[in-house]
């Protein structure tokens, strides 16, 4: 499989040099954003809670979401920064959210795991493993119900495949012919437990789809061309036939489950991490390909890196300078009716002391 040249797939052949550079710079931006987020997380008093880093997996969010159109939606779990940025959210609102500021994308109410931008078809950012899988089903159902030709890409980790909600979603997706694409981002570990120690399966995780009569495929995540080529098939199946697909994208995360993962270097060997960085890193792989294609030069690469550095620095400055939510803000965004001061909101007590 890895010998196939996905660069020549129609969906990749149609890319202009400029579009390819944009894909590469998206991955660079996302990685830089997370590196800077980590640096700030490690400075006392800047961020709280968890920080689940995506570094190593960038080709998945960038590759799949680069194929989405007006009626294609997406939703993911808590490792959500990349999907947010790849959906078109800006770094400032994302960084400010990490800093818990009122200017954050969720006004400082969601945090790292809960970024949202419905105006960009991006529906979060969900904290409970596999809890988003029925929501993705519902979004795709909504697309179909409202008579649009579209889909929902619902991302999940390899640790989510054993949750009941995911299996219930697969059954309904197939039964009701719902245009949802489940993208298993398989980084090999559900927190500290390896795939072999957490899942029982034949062949691969995606093959479980067969029992629900759902098409599936496995993708080498280090090649963004392959990610795009195979995801495009699933998208067409969703849009044209209202049929679901399960995709399993083999990928890797360099950091722990979250930055708070105390055992991040204990359940994996340093050699394993090093091998991925050296031979499978999606940015390095794509850079080599684009260089070979004569599209990317060192000068362009430096320019992209510099721009990402400037953008992240500006995002940090924005986050630092922004005000935190007020105590009064705690009580807004609970009910639509009270936020909009409707007649209904004035009847009875909605809040209690």
């Amino acid at each position: 499989m890895s010998d196939l040249d996905f660069a020549s797939s129609p969906i990749n052949q149609s890319l202009s040099a400029e579009q390819k550079i944009r894909l590469y710079s998206q991955m660079v931006r996302i990685r830089r954003f997370e590196q800077v987020a980590l640096a700030n997380y490690q400075k006392p008093g800047r961020m709280g809670g968890f920080l689940h880093l995506y570094i190593g997996q960038e080709s998945v969010a960038v590759g799949t979401l680069s194929l989405c159109g007006e009626n294609d939606h997406n939703i993911t779990a808590y490792r959500c920064h990349a999907h947010a940025l790849a959906s078109g959210m800006n770094m400032k609102e994302c960084m400010a959210e990490l800093f818990g500021k009122a200017t954050g994308c969720s006004k400082g109410k969601g945090g790292s795991m809960h970024f949202f931008a419905p105006d960009k078809n991006y529906w979060g950012g969900h904290g409970i493993v596999a809890g988003q899988t029925p929501l993705g089903l519902g979004l795709a159902y909504g697309v179909k119900y409202l008579g649009k030709e579209g889909s929902c890409l619902c991302f999940l980790g390899d640790g989510a495949v054993n949750q009941g909600a995911f299996h219930e979603s697969l059954n309904i997706a197939s039964l009701f012919e719902i245009p949802v694409i489940y993208v298993i981002e398989n980084n090999g570990y559900s927190m500290g437990t390896s795939q072999k120690r957490s899942s029982s399966y034949t062949g691969c995780l995606a093959q479980r789809a067969e029992s629900y009569e759902i098409e599936w495929d496995v993708i080498n995540g280090s090649d963004i061309y392959e990610v795009r080529a195979k995801t495009q098939i699933a998208l067409e199946r969703a849009r044209k036939q209202n049929k679901p697909t399960v995709l399993e994208i083999e990928t890797y995360r360099y950091y722990g489950h979250s930055v708070a993962d105390a055992n991040a270097t204990k359940y994996r060997t340093p050699e394993e991490i090093e091998d991925y960085k050296k031979n499978h890193d999606p940015l390095a792989v794509f850079r080599r390909k684009l260089t070979k294609e004569g599209i990317l030069t060192d000068a362009i690469h430096d320019e992209i890196t510099k721009a990402a550095n400037v953008e992240t620095a500006e995002a940090v400055k924005f986050a630092e300078d922004s005000p935190p939510p007020s105590i009064a803000d705690i009580s807004t965004d609970v009910y639509w009716e009270t936020d909009n001061n409707t007649e209904a909101s004035k009847i009875g007590h909605h809040f209690f002391a």
Partner: protein, 327 residues
């Protein structure tokens, strides 16, 4: 005025909202071809077809979550839980997703969904099928909960719940489905009842009985006995909506009678009546002539035995005894 059963009243409300808004869909186990496990949706599939009335597999986490996702995109799903007792297998969806998605998105997402079905004891089906979770769900900010006692309230509230832009959990009662009551004719206009508005179901002067759901019906019967056999005039306040809650109406009846019995099919620990009791002591302490008393379901999982299940639940006899112990 014409009369309908509680079941027919809800059905009429659903039918009117299906006609009013093409984005309203009804989903649940057996709601379509089977005509509803309790026949609430009878005839709706025949009238509205596969697109609007959808049979789901027995898969509550899957289909409730699907409804929540669809509501975020602008569909208005009305989800039937065959029993509210089955909430436990969909709890993550009902609480983490429906209740919190608006908040965690800083108000960017909303979830205009209705989840409805019966939530009651008294049918000899044992503990797993007899949960009464209105207090449980009212404890989650972001959710709204109501529990109508009469056909008219059931119709008026289901229509309001569907139009509301927040998640509304609508708790019915299998023992009320066949009860008849007056319901305004649709020809006389759009009949809706706001959430958060309690109603005095019987005027009285000696004691206030505050209840919701089927307990209201028990209170009405108990009030007759109290009046006829003991000369005690009981006022009955039907909360109808648990959250939003009509606190003003609660305080008004307490100020009128100065004695209170809360009748609540929930269990005593942390139920709706525990919250109401707290509100009364905080805001109407000086109005009370004695301690607030409660008639709740006896504090154990629901017993099966038809010989004693009614005694575990609030009933007119227990209400009368409680009132007589106070006066």
């Amino acid at each position: 005025m014409r009369t309908l059963t509680y079941r027919e009243a809800i059905r009429e409300g659903l039918d009117e909202e299906l006609a009013r808004d093409p984005n309203v869909v009804i989903m649940g186990e057996e709601v379509a071809q089977y005509n509803g496990a309790y026949k609430v949706t009878q005839g709706l599939w025949e009238k509205w077809g596969d697109k609007r009335i959808i049979d789901t597999p027995i898969s509550e986490a899957g289909f409730i979550g699907m409804g929540i996702g669809a509501s975020m995109l602008g569909v208005r799903p009305v989800m039937e839980l065959m029993f509210w007792s089955f909430h436990s297998v969909a709890f993550d969806q009902l609480v983490n997703n429906a209740a919190c998605v608006r908040y965690m998105s800083g108000g960017l997402c909303s979830c205009p969904i209705v989840v409805r079905g019966p939530a009651n004891g008294g049918t000899n089906v044992g503990a797993t099928h007899s949960h009464i979770p209105e207090g449980l769900f009212a404890a989650f900010p972001g959710l709204k909960v109501c529990a109508p006692a009469t056909p008219a309230d059931a119709k008026g509230l289901i229509k309001t719940a569907i139009r509301d832009n927040d998640p509304v959990y609508f708790m019915e009662n299998t023992l009320l489905y066949g009860m008849t009551g007056e319901v305004p004719d649709p020809a006389d206009g759009d009949f809706v009842i706001p959430l958060g508005k309690a109603e005095v179901k019987r005027e009285g002067s000696d004691i206030s009985l505050i209840a919701h759901g089927r307990s209201v019906i028990h209170c009405l019967e108990a009030a007759e006995t109290l009046q006829n056999e003991h000369g005690i005039s009981a006022e009955i306040l039907d909360l109808r909506s648990i959250r939003p809650l009509d606190v003003d109406a609660i305080l008004a009846t307490v100020a009128k009678t100065h004695r209170v019995v809360l009748v609540d099919e929930s269990k005593p620990f942390g139920g709706v009546s525990a919250m109401v009791s707290h509100l009364i002591q905080e805001h109407a302490f000086d109005e009370l002539d004695g301690p607030i008393k409660r008639v709740c379901t006896i504090d154990a999982p629901a017993i099966y035995s038809p010989h004693v299940e009614n005694d575990q639940l609030p009933n007119p006899k227990r209400i009368v005894e409680k009132v007589l112990s106070m006066i």
